[in-house]
Amino acid sequence: MIRIENLVKRYGSKYALDGISLNIDKGEVVGFLGPNGAGKSTTMNIITGYLSASSGNVYINGVELLSDPIGVKTMIGYLPEQPPLYVDMTVREYLNFVFDLKRCEYSRKKHIDEICSVVKIADVQNRVIRNLSKGYKQRVGIAQALIGNPPIIIFDEPTVGLDPKEIIEIRSLIRKLGEKHTVILSSHILSEVQVICDRIVIIDSGRIIADKPTEELARVAGRNKRFNAKIAGPAREVIAAVKEIAGVKSIEATGENDNGAYSFVIEADANTDIRRALFETLAALSFPMLGLEEVNASLEDIFISIVDSKFESESEATGARAAWDDADSDI
């Protein structure tokens, strides 16, 4: 459905994208994950034809983007980071305008009514967009992307700036859209893409550093479990005792609380549950445990573990190549 080949975008000497290649099949829901400035939006802007790449190609349904820009654009609905709303229009006027702009061949009223009920904006149709809340504006932005029923929908950070209730609603809406459309979405929140997407592409400094199905990525990220613990007792002795527990990889004191209690970060193997052993050890030494909480892997952790594992596999590969070269030279 979407094939991206070696996309490069240069601003002067700075590379915003440095060789992105990607294949997205029909019906996939793909999440672009990465810190701000990683190149997620740039990639999306190139796919939608807003920017041109310095080099590389984008094929949509086998059609090269630049050979038929207008044809390709009819196949893509796009919600940019900032929804492109004309705030002086009413929602209905705006959607009518987008309908004309995209030269849709559906029956106008039925199509727009349908979309309004899908994104739940039917009740604000006659209000001026300027006066809507951020969540509603975002919905109108999504409605705009859906007009013309494009097979591909691209959302750039669709939940930024929304309140928690709105975030949940927008996420479930996107998941629902994923049943009928090919969806690309970007985010810098790991849990968000995990919930919505089948496949996660991690982009950092203009390169793809991981491209995996969601479960597989979760496994990579979940090799270590991390706990925040609050334990009353002398720090040095606590550390010595906890280190002895099977499965604990490291423990670090992060600060002293009141009454001689310390905060610790404990890193443990994901396959062993250390919580019981931890409790029993501390109880035996009568160091009361005042709190224990498991910390979910953050984007940062996932980055580190992916970069680490990449580094390991690369060094293995170079090692193998060196051996191979040695063998070669023997002959």
Binding site: Y50, I70, Y78, P84, Y86, M89, E93
Partner: protein
């Protein structure tokens, strides 16, 4: 293109700017017309009126064009236009025709002033008609220049002031010309000047070269506006 045209027209009239523009346009035209013909010697000659209006249009046309592209860029709505199945030329022409319709519409409304000439005098119809055609073409050139400058900046105010400045400079160039002794410079300046070509209409002649000149200015600046967008996509 028609979608963009419709939206632009709607936006002129949902906000105040469309009404304000028409009101100011008609008030200024009426005032200047009164002063130039009725009060100053009660003449039915319109050349002074059109000369003054040439400058006034140079000041009020930028009000129409200032936000055409700069506002889209500032509010990021251009992302919708540029990712929709519309060509850049279609987008620019949609904007051009909407702003030009406002200008031409107001101008046609203001033609009611000429009634007094026919009622109380005997104006030269050929001169009047050739002036009107000239003004309509110059208006198109003004709008095109305004759109081009609006595409260069995010700031409406800068777009407006820069457009007014550019238009005034293009107008007064031929006056400055009288003080330049060096012939080649004078030739080039008078070639660029909007005003020096306008004087041909005084004689009621539909000077093809002048018409072509205004038409080319309009075309060149619309073309440049398309190029600005093309270039921005690549840089």
């Amino acid at each position: 293109m028609s979608a963009i045209f419709k939206r632009e027209m709607l936006s002129y009239f949902t906000g105040a700017i469309g009404y304000v523009f028409i009101a100011v346009f008609l008030a200024l035209t009426g005032g200047v017309f009164g002063v130039c013909t009725l009060f100053m010697g009660k003449q039915s000659s319109v050349s002074l009126f059109f000369t003054v209006m040439l400058f006034i249009y140079g000041i009020i046309v930028p009000l129409l064009t200032m936000k055409s592209f700069s506002e889209e860029r500032k509010t990021r709505t251009e992302q919708l236009l540029l990712t929709s199945p519309v060509s850049l030329t279609g987008m620019v022409m949609g904007k051009f025709f909407s702003a030009y319709s406002m200008f031409a519409g107001s101008f046609v409304l203001s033609c009611i002033n000429f009634y007094t000439l026919f009622r109380y005098g005997t104006p030269n119809v050929a001169v009047l008609v050739s002036y009107c055609i000239g003004i309509l073409l110059i208006g198109a050139a003004y709008v095109a220049i305004g759109l081009f400058i609006s595409a260069l900046t995010e700031n409406q105010l800068i777009a407006a002031i820069a457009t007014i400045g550019t238009l005034i400079v293009m107008l007064v160039m031929s006056f400055v010309n009288q003080y330049i002794d060096f012939y080649p410079v004078r030739f080039i300046l008078s070639w660029i000047s909007i005003y020096s070509r306008f004087s041909n209409f005084t004689f009621g002649i539909l000077d093809i070269s002048s018409l072509l000149y205004y038409f080319s200015i309009c075309f060149i600046f619309l073309f440049l506006t398309v190029r600005v967008y093309e270039k921005r996509r690549w840089s």
